[in-house]
Symmetry: C2
Amino acid sequence: MRRLGHISNVDSLVDSAPAHIRREVKAVLQALDKAIAAVQPAKLLHDKITVRGEVFRVGGRRLNLDKFDEVVLLGAGKAALGMAKAILELLGRRIKRGVIVVPYGSNVKMLDCVEVLEAGHPIPDTNGVKAAQHIIELAESCKENTLAVFLLSGGASALIPLPADGVSLEDKIEITNLLMKSGANIHELNTVRKHISAIKGGQLAKALSRSRVVSLILSDVVGDDIATIGSGPTAPDVTTYTDALQILERRGIIDKTPSSILTRLRRGASGEIPETPKPSDNIFKHVTNIVIGGNFDACRAAASFMRRSGYRSMIVSSHLEGEAREVGRAFSSVALSVERYGVPLKRPCAFVIGGETTVSVRGDGVGGRNQELVLAAVEKLADTRKAVLASLGTDGIDGPTDAAGAICSSNTLRQALEAGLNADDYLRHNDSYNFFKKVGGLILTGRTGTNVGDVAILCVGD
Amino acid sequence: MRRLGHISNVDSLVDSAPAHIRREVKAVLQALDKAIAAVQPAKLLHDKITVRGEVFRVGGRRLNLDKFDEVVLLGAGKAALGMAKAILELLGRRIKRGVIVVPYGSNVKMLDCVEVLEAGHPIPDTNGVKAAQHIIELAESCKENTLAVFLLSGGASALIPLPADGVSLEDKIEITNLLMKSGANIHELNTVRKHISAIKGGQLAKALSRSRVVSLILSDVVGDDIATIGSGPTAPDVTTYTDALQILERRGIIDKTPSSILTRLRRGASGEIPETPKPSDNIFKHVTNIVIGGNFDACRAAASFMRRSGYRSMIVSSHLEGEAREVGRAFSSVALSVERYGVPLKRPCAFVIGGETTVSVRGDGVGGRNQELVLAAVEKLADTRKAVLASLGTDGIDGPTDAAGAICSSNTLRQALEAGLNADDYLRHNDSYNFFKKVGGLILTGRTGTNVGDVAILCVGD
């Protein structure tokens, strides 16, 4: 068998699959591997950036490196290390200093002359605050003739938290929890957070206002909105202090909001403290935000591999959000229409979806959104003859587990019953990890060094 | 404008749509109308059945009417009236007697020599019990040389409830409520109900065991399983009393189960009372169950109309189930991928889904599953340029409202904001009906005389 790059247990997953769907299991796992490979930061940056002599080209922009005294590298996110390595290869010794912030566990202190700091994720911590201060200080030290390259990827919101004056990290964490419990969506969450932060919502761009800024952004956000990815440190913010207050009001949590936050938002709304930088702000004339890759790149690689493997293939959506179990059920229903009516495609065929689902935790089990999506499909796929569904997080980490995701097939329900397991019970307890640990089907990758959300593939064999 | 058959407010919906998406709104509404027209019982029966001289052909079967002394017509369901009319046209005076059961409000007492009874739906009542007794008596009066034609459509489970000996209608209603609240799925619900009924789960076929039986079935069930539609009065039952007891146990409601039901199930499990007829039972040699139409027919008509109207078209699934709001969000996300990446289809294009979603009611608003599905899409469609989404129940009745469903577009969120309405709040209160009543978008049909579940169309203009 072809050696795969990221998924470490392909052989055992293929071997343990029932013979009649082994081909589909293998194709799906290989396609997911291709999806991860396609969004490796190094690959994306080398694809999008060329440096010839002193000319740096990226995203249709052309910068003459001669014009700058120095290049400073800043960055934060789950993919910062891989992105920094690729940029160092491209720009080499032109980079004189820099700092990037990554989750704990990288075991790297320096990359050439770039400091590598570690901080808490997904819960922000004081090391993150220190790292963010370090980034702002470095940014403010940049001059007119500095080219600042900022590497942004998912996870940055938590990795470089910088509470605004008078607000504590604890208050920020508390309001985030209150908002999430109240059902606030990502836009509401970010509107509030940007107005109690000293780095989010374009404020890093403000700190860099004397310099030329190029932000290279790997998107983990559905829709790739640059104001949302990592809370948009170098992107204009269209929201206001008044918006933030209205959200707290509408979500019914204004009475529970920490007073430091309420004071700041009210002072901001009355004009006592400056707004976050708006789209019309002059500072953005010197800023170029470029999304170098996102979920669609991963989906495209997966669909393209399935097509080369002989399956009619289609990306159904790379903008999926919603409750994982519901997405799993809806997606798996497509296999029934394929087998029964030959729609939307005739067999053999494959469907790719991408995005990022969520799990409303009700039970006390262990799992992740991808594993839960797949577990929710088990019952419906039992009514198919020859279907396989797999889903994984491209960062290799699905919930608080050591799995990236899971795979199931037409046979999984039967296998579970034979093992005395009730799939429905595991789903009710949000215990997808233990279900697949017992039945088989966990996909293992370890950290992949990238992060563009989730990819799922449904394959129906002939 | 072309006159439409079923949707009564097309003109006003088209006129009130923003000019740039008027074409899409019109096409989608016309396509939904075609979907309803394609599954009218008369049309389906005339398509599937031919009577030439004394030869009756249906679904590949050939019956010689000469061989029978009489044809008896039985039936129940929301589409029973339309089905009966069509059969009377086809078989005419050969039908000597019969009875069909329909929901209140038909205002018809007799169709030729066929009695029309009315009963409660969706809550069963004593008129339903009497009607079911009447059907069983008529069935038992059929002889060797009788051809019994049974017309089955959605709603029959409630319209002809016949509690088994010793079980009261109240007990049946109570256990149904207990099961539904415990999260039981349709299969679990039916397993229990078939074992406390004297008509469900093949027991009508048993009452007709001396005769030749042809069941003509209009499916409102996702997947068209004949044992599930109307609880399968003429279909073999693979479930047992023991299964039923295990379900009550597993759902944790065995202690609350009415004692009459518990007694019956335990006696059944110990062999004291006979099982429901199983697939191997001889009675089914004389029974032909034919699904004359279902959700896919409606989806196909809708997709085909959209194609003729110039939109690349695709049925994504006619097997959709799940929480309405989640399906709405997932489905609308496809429009974003179309506009941004040209996948799964390039503009202009349309996607059709069918099935039947559910709503977990949390708020105290008014709505239906189709209206809620559409409301949940409003926010996502606001990020599109030119998309329209509509969903309706093919029976014309969406929840406890006078609407069949609703339609929204890229502009609906803006219209709502201008009217001071927060779409999210209405969704949280399950108040989709009042949202669309205020913003516009309710689709009105009245009862359509058919019932094959729901159809939704997403259209992205050029």
